[in-house]
């Protein structure tokens, strides 16, 4: 088969209001790939996933899953996909095993195959010991893993994971990440993942589309995207906020510094060449208490910043939604 697993052309979605949630996006990816949609809250990630999962109709444009049109051939599309929505959707009155049995039956499994798949899923997500307890009292991480197993029970060709680790504690997040990474390698299954965690996209995705206000502003492998940002980031750690403020004052007008953002007691400087900029910055900061200076390659947040003119956290704050852990605020202490 030569066609991509997912093919999206000029997809638009306007909600009544009108809210232009998607303003014409294009992307495609192949089987076996993890593709991430990275963007702040309200960017249009869930809207995209819901259209591809046949839950919502596009206002314009076209989307194909393994060659099947998501609107005209919705039933065929549903045979190919596993869907894990943004909010956990397990039946709380049912045990993990019952949830999985039900989902398997809805996917057309029965008899011995169904039983075998349920056991496999339970061991995959490490929930075999809790399999017969109602899922009502479970932690967020456990539910999320059950969600994942329910999306996988029929061995889909394409798995949707809408913000799989949002709202989880770091430990559960790490567990989910390792599960997703495990799923991807060596299998022919494609995964469409959405996230507002830079690190998640960076670590898990083969390719990333950065989405902002219904538009894809950059697309490529994480490495490609980061290498598009010419230059390095210098991270300067100060002894205390007063020193940082003084540092900001001195460096704001420095020609070697293209951009500067502060966060806590550290200052992030975008420079042409890190190695050459260090002496210049050291000189400028004489007399200011600096704890350390380090060079960092650009992160996806720098890519987002370059494409949109703001950081992800600013974008999230602007929309009044939950905060991202990963972004840095620009000019906070200035």
């Amino acid at each position: 088969m030569t066609h991509p697993l997912v093919e999206v052309h000029g997809l638009k979605k306007t909600y009544p209001g009108p809210v232009e949630a998607l303003r014409g996006i294009d992307f495609s990816f192949a089987r076996g790939e993890i593709f991430a949609l990275l963007g702040p809250n309200g960017a249009g990630k869930t809207t995209t996933v819901r259209i591809l999962a046949t839950l919502s109709q596009p206002s314009a444009g076209r989307a194909l899953i393994d060659g099947h049109h998501v609107v005209n051939e919705a039933p065929a599309v549903r045979r190919l996909i596993g869907y894990v929505g943004q909010a956990s959707a397990v039946d709380e009155r049912l045990t993990a095993r019952e949830n999985l049995m039900l989902q398997g039956r809805l996917q057309g499994l029965a008899g011995g195959v169904l039983k075998r798949r349920v056991e496999e899923m339970l061991s995959l997500i490490d929930l075999a010991a809790q399999a017969d307890r109602p899922s009502g009292g479970w932690s967020g991480g456990m539910r999320r893993r059950l969600d994942l197993a329910m999306g996988l029970i029929h061995g889909p060709r394409l798995l949707f994971l809408d913000e799989p680790s949002a709202g989880l504690d770091p430990e559960s997040r790490a567990a989910i990440w390792s599960e997703i990474a495990d799923l991807a390698h060596g299998s022919g299954m494609g995964i469409l993942l959405t996230t507002h965690y830079l690190e998640e996209a960076d670590r898990l995705a083969d390719r990333v589309a950065i989405i902002d206000r219904g538009t894809i502003v950059a697309i490529g492998t994480p490495e490609e995207l980061k290498s598009r940002i010419a230059g390095d980031v210098l991270i300067v750690e100060f002894a205390d906020p007063a020193d940082l403020a003084e540092g900001v004052r001195r460096l704001k007008t420095n020609e070697a510094v293209r951009d500067l953002r502060s966060s806590g007691r550290t200052l992030h400087l975008t420079v042409e060449n890190g190695a050459q900029a260090i002496p210049v910055v050291m000189t400028a900061l004489q007399g200011v208490a600096v704890v350390s200076i380090s060079i960092q390659r650009p992160t996806l947040d720098d890519v987002y910043l370059a494409a949109t003119g703001r950081t992800m956290r600013e974008a999230e704050a602007g929309i009044g939604a939950e905060n991202s852990d990963s972004a840095i605020r620009k000019g906070e202490a200035a």
Binding site: T54, S56, A76, R78, R79, R93, L106, G108, G155
Partner: protein, 302 residues
């Protein structure tokens, strides 16, 4: 878990299962409503749909088993009415038009219908909860024909009220009532319980889909059910009714159900009973169509 085991679990988990039959899906859209003919065709075309429907109904019965309070409470009220009214007003059967001199027997089929009404009025709550919890989205993205999803709520309701009505029947029989209509008669009684429960359950689901709020559904259903009960022959025989009430009772679906249930119970197949039977069946079809429309609208609103 060691790495070898995990890899094993992962590769097994990801192995394709079954055939590559993505393309032979019956293109079934919409709802239980559309038309019953279309439904039957859908079922004939896709035995898978029946299995899915069974799984979805089974899920709702599991809910009843895990949290049986509502199911039990719903039987208690009609039971109290039966015992209270049955002994308090036993003399009322001396009025004209009562088919029996045992008021328990007169009440029993009516109260079976009432149990059905109360048991189905809040059927939409399950659907609403599942919608809010995201379970509907999960069902919608699976390859089951979508009418089975709505049908599971309506059929579960119609079935559970038959169980509840049986408790009333049993109590009435212990109190001395005898279903003199025999097996065929009881079939009609249960048919009425099923149809009115299914119809009101469908209405409740339609309201839930449109109003999207638990309190609103409860309010509307409470507002409707009690007047319909009192404007029927559930408590009182038609000849004993004031004339205005009699007129209303004739166009009251609850009364059609009571009339059919009672006729079956006593085996009194009066000549114009077919009108109530047809009315009841039509009411059931209309209400499922209404729910189907609301359901389709919900599907397309995303």
């Amino acid at each position: 878990m060691n790495d070898g085991m995990r890899d094993d679990a992962v590769s097994r988990a990801l192995a394709p299962i079954g055939g590559d039959d993505a393309d032979d899906v019956a293109p079934v859209h919409g709802s239980a409503a559309g038309a019953t003919r279309k439904e039957r065709e859908a079922i004939a075309a896709d035995p898978q749909a029946l299995l899915a429907l069974g799984a979805l109904i089974g899920r709702l019965f599991l809910h009843d088993r895990r949290a049986p309070t509502f199911v039990i409470i719903n039987v208690i009220q009609p039971l109290i009415w039966l015992l209270l009214f049955g002994s308090l007003f036993s003399g009322v059967t001396r009025l004209a038009g009562f088919p029996t001199d045992n008021y328990f027997a007169f009440l029993a089929p009516g109260l079976m219908v009432m149990t059905s009404l109360f048991g189905s009025a809040f059927s939409g709550m399950s659907l609403l909860m599942d919608e809010q919890r995201g379970l509907l989205d999960r069902f919608f993205t699976s390859p089951v024909p979508h009418w089975t999803i709505l049908a599971s709520y309506v059929l579960h309701t119609a079935l559970i009220v038959m169980v509840q009505a049986s408790v009333i029947l049993l109590a009435a029989m212990i109190a001395g009532a005898r279903p003199s209509g025999g097996f065929i008669g009881l079939l009609a009684t249960y048919g009425a319980v099923f149809l009115i429960g299914g119809a009101v359950g469908a209405l409740s689901n339609a309201l839930a889909l449109v109003l999207k709020r638990h309190d609103a559904v409860i309010g509307v259903m409470n507002f409707m059910i009690l007047p319909l009960v009192f404007l029927s022959t559930m408590m009182i025989a038609r000849p004993a009714m004031p004339i205005w009430m009699l007129h209303i009772s004739l166009i009251n679906p609850v009364d059609w159900a009571v009339t059919v249930a009672r006729a079956g119970f006593f085996g009194h197949w009066q000549g114009d009973l077919w009108r109530d039977m047809i009315g009841l069946a039509v009411f059931f079809v209309l209400m499922t169509m209404l729910a189907g429309r609301a359901f389709r609208r919900q599907r397309l609103s995303g």
